[in-house]
């Protein structure tokens, strides 16, 4: 373990703290926070500051310090967390996050952002300093000298008499230290021995103990303090350093440090010499300042302090209090290297393949279904599935942080476009594979920005349409039939179908006279090349079209679609696999090869008749499916598997649907089986193959390619984009 590793740990913890911070501030914004929430928010910033200090991240420390100070006022009930204040805090949290990232990456944070933010926070702090908390008496009110919480105008410094010493005395470096502990010193578990040890290490010291106050046993109280010391020390350069050993106990003893040559002890303790040392008098003199100090300090406590958050009883593990618990009370967790988890997942994948192979071989060996070996294998398969599910669950994480990140995106987007937006999230605890979460961040961000930028109207327009000025975006995540469904719903103006249609025509994406259903028009936005310069605003940037988003989602094995109601808003729906590692697929034969078609893309399978197939010119064919014609794609030809062409009536048609609802018919030789396969990526070792998503190892040990249906149906060689559109011809 070295400082670099610890620094890594610190930045990981910063992420956690920032998440806590955001989460707590959002609760405060929604008015759902209690004192525990506020405390947690304070602690998050305090923690970041503390660690940052240890690594000398100056900018981060100075910003965090101001932020923390403001939060301290709030948790001490000295400043109200009004809506305005919370908004400022949220912005400050964003800035803090940026500063943390800059510190971690070793880059410079944008001063033009964080300096003004810091100044803004300062302003809140200073303007608050003028107003005392109502009702609670603060220390400043009691003591005449009031400069702020730290100043009593009184310091419990030992009454030292150095002010009367001449310069010569100090230069000599010889001092007398008189030290007599009070019982409080022992109560605090301090030990004079160690103090004397430290002191004697600072020069040439002679120590004398005054035992004259020690009573006989019958009058002896073990908790009292009867001893005093006189230390003569030579060779001390800096007189102030002599106070250091007494740093912890200055208010718990009588301490007098004088330079030897002067010999004159003037000042408050003048009349006190060693012989006259009478404890009662001394204690009076010395304890009275301590008393005042205690009194004042006690009053300073009248502001709310964080209460003990758990009762210590016979069962210390029990945490019993009504207020909200932070996530730290959650079930026990351990940290594991992601690499180890990945290895485990890989191994389990191999286990699944192996088990499938074993089953296959047993079947080939001709054992009957009911034999004990087969039954054993069934159990093995069950077990393997369970292990696989459990292992997949390890990498699964709640989407909470992802959803929370979006609230910042909404804030910034709203600021940039001048719209008033509120983000509501649902399903924070929904769990998704960690890698999927990471790859969702960008697409989600784009969609949210789009929703704010294009979906929601300006406040004035909204109120004219009798909507609230504040637009709402609902972001939800849920498990549905073995997949994760994420929805982004806005209550904006919905898709402007006329505009979309005309843009599509303009860009040559559809024919001018193409007849499309409303839903088909909506889904045009996913086409490559749809977004244009006219779409560029402050925030959407260039070329980040919905087609990029769609491809990202598809790359995750997911689907995306949109539905819209003019005047009421739009809803994007994404469905994603629970994990990237396995896939349910249909195993088919194509041109003598075995391929896997992802089940999620399959609508149905058909056995076509030659009469259903119609040729549409060079290499384009359609097949009649009920009332419509669907483009027919001969997979073996598409993938250039060889000369043999499949006769439609000899083969099977698999009707697939891409995410926009576009249907295509894939012609394959035959269907073998339907099963779950472990996905093995080819990209790392080989590269990307158009039409192929990945590969897998089947039960018989053969490698099978997994089709990328979306790519397959797009990649029509030699034809223009137009022919990719469903040609909804009426069957004559």
């Amino acid at each position: 373990m070295d400082m670099e590793e610890i620094k890594q740990t610190f930045f990981v913890e910063c992420e956690e703290q920032l998440a806590e911070l955001e989460s707590g501030l959002l609760e405060m914004e929604a008015g759902e926070a209690d004192s525990e929430t506020v405390n947690a928010v304070f602690r998050a910033v305090h923690s970041i500051k503390g660690g940052a200090g240890a690594f000398q991240l100056e900018q981060l420390v100075s910003f965090a310090h101001v932020f923390e100070t403001l939060l301290d006022l709030i948790r001490g009930d000295e400043l109200e967390a009004s809506a305005d204040v919370v908004r400022v805090l949220l912005r400050a949290a964003d800035v803090l996050s940026d500063l943390v990232n800059a510190a971690r990456d070793g880059t410079e944070a944008d001063e033009s952002v964080w300096q003004p933010m810091k100044a803004e926070l300062d302003q809140f702090i200073n303007s608050n300093g003028d107003t005392s908390p109502s009702g609670a008496e603060s220390a400043e009110d009691e003591v005449p000298v009031q400069d702020g919480p730290d100043e009593f105008g009184f310091e419990p410094i030992p009454i030292s008499l150095d002010m009367f010493e001449t310069e010569d005395d100090e230069a000599a470096g010889e001092y007398t230290v008189r030290f007599r502990p009070t019982r409080e010193l022992f109560q605090s578990a301090s030990e004079p021995l160690f103090i004397l040890r430290e002191l004697s290490g600072m020069g040439m010291a002679t120590i004398e103990c005054d035992t004259s106050n020690v009573p006989t046993l019958d009058a002896f109280d073990p908790t009292a303090s009867y001893l005093g010391w006189t230390i003569t020390i030579r060779g001390v350069e800096n007189k102030d350093s002599l106070h250091e050993p007494f740093d912890f106990v200055e208010d718990q003893c009588e301490l007098e440090i004088t330079a030897i040559a002067s010999g004159e002890a003037t000042g408050a303790l003048e009349e006190v010499s060693e012989d006259d040392l009478s404890p009662p008098v001394l204690e009076e003199i010395v304890t009275s300042p301590a008393e005042i100090e205690v009194e004042v300090a006690a009053d300073a406590e009248m502001a709310d302090e964080p209460k003990v958050q758990a009762q210590v009883s016979d069962a210390p593990a029990k945490v019993a209090e009504p207020s909200k618990q932070s996530a730290n009370a959650a079930p026990a967790t351990i940290r594991v290297d992601l690499e180890r988890v990945d290895r485990l997942i890989n191994l389990v994948g191999e286990l699944v393949v192996n088990q499938a192979m074993l089953s296959q071989r047993v079947v080939e060996a001709g054992l009957t279904e009911t034999s004990s070996v087969m039954m054993g294998l069934d159990e093995l398969e069950q077990l393997t599935r369970e292990i696989q599910d459990s292992v997949m669950a390890i990498r699964a994480q709640p989407v909470k942080t992802l959803l929370q990140r979006m609230s910042r995106v909404v804030r910034e987007a709203a600021d940039a476009t001048g719209k008033i937006v509120r983000l509501r999230t649902e399903g924070e605890s929904t769990e998704i594979d960690k890698t999927v979460i990471e790859r969702l961040a960008d697409p989600l961000t784009h969609m949210i920005r789009n929703a704010v930028d294009h979906g929601l109207e300006m406040p004035e327009k909204r109120s004219k349409a009798e909507k609230s000025e504040e637009g709402t975006i609902e972001l939800s995540a849920a498990h549905r039939s073995g997949r994760v469904v994420i929805e982004i719903k806005d209550d904006g103006a919905g898709i402007n179908r006329d505009k979309v249609r005309s843009i599509a025509v303009e860009k040559g994406l559809i024919g001018a006279d193409a007849q499309l259903s409303d839903n088909e028009i909506d889904n045009l936005i996913f086409l490559p090349g749809f977004s244009t310069a006219t779409e560029v605003s402050n925030l959407s940037g260039r070329g980040v079209g919905m087609d990029v988003v769609k491809r990202s989602i598809q790359a995750l094995g997911g689907r995306i679609s949109i539905s819209s109601r003019p005047g009421h808003g739009s809803t994007f729906t994404m469905s994603l696999p629970l994990t990237l590692a396995v896939l349910d697929g249909m195993v088919v034969t194509v041109g003598g090869q075995t391929l896997v078609v992802p089940l999620t893309a399959i609508v149905e399978t058909l056995k076509p008749k030659n009469s259903d197939v119609h040729n549409m010119g060079c290499d384009a064919a359609v097949v009649a499916v009920r009332d419509s014609f669907v483009p027919l794609i001969e997979v073996s030809e598409k993938l250039a598997f060889g000369e043999e062409r499949t006769n439609p009536s000899d083969g099977v048609i698999i009707l697939v649907e891409t995410d926009e609802g576009k249907q295509n018919a894939l012609l394959v030789d035959s269907i073998q089986d339907q099963r779950q396969v472990v996905i093995k990526s080819l990209e790392v070792s080989y590269g990307h193959i158009p039409g192929v998503a990945a590969a897998t190892i089947l039960g018989d040990g053969r490698v099978a390619l997994i089709l990328d249906v979306g790519e397959l149906v797009q990649h029509v060689p030699g034809s223009s984009l137009n022919s990719d559109q469903p040609m909804m011809l009426e069957a004559s």
Partner: protein, 100 residues
């Protein structure tokens, strides 16, 4: 004159002379007043100011009672603590030296 012919009673001091131990020791010492006493310090790992003042009190009390009081088996840490705290070893009769 001390009755040096009487055998001393021995109290074995515990390893740690924290406040809890000292309170117990104080009580025990009170119960042993009037006999020659030897404190066996061989197990003691360290001595602090509170321990020292108790020993000093005991030593003085025994002197006034005219009974012998010694501390035996004091280890290095014990001895150097006494010295660091500015007390003479013979005040406590370390190394079993009797005093008059």
């Amino acid at each position: 004159m001390t009755e040096s012919t009487m055998a001393a009673e021995v109290i074995k001091l515990p390893e740690v002379l924290d406040l809890n131990a000292l309170e117990a020791l104080h009580t025990e010492l009170l119960s042993k007043r009037g006999v020659h006493l030897e404190l066996d310090a061989s197990a003691v790992s360290g001595l602090g100011a509170q321990g020292l003042q108790l020993l000093l009190s005991a030593s003085e009390t025994w002197r006034l009672d005219q009974k012998s009081f010694t501390v035996s088996g004091a280890g290095d840490e014990f001895v150097s603590a006494v010295s660091m705290m500015g007390v003479d070893a013979d005040v406590l009769c370390l190394d079993g030296e009797e005093h008059e």
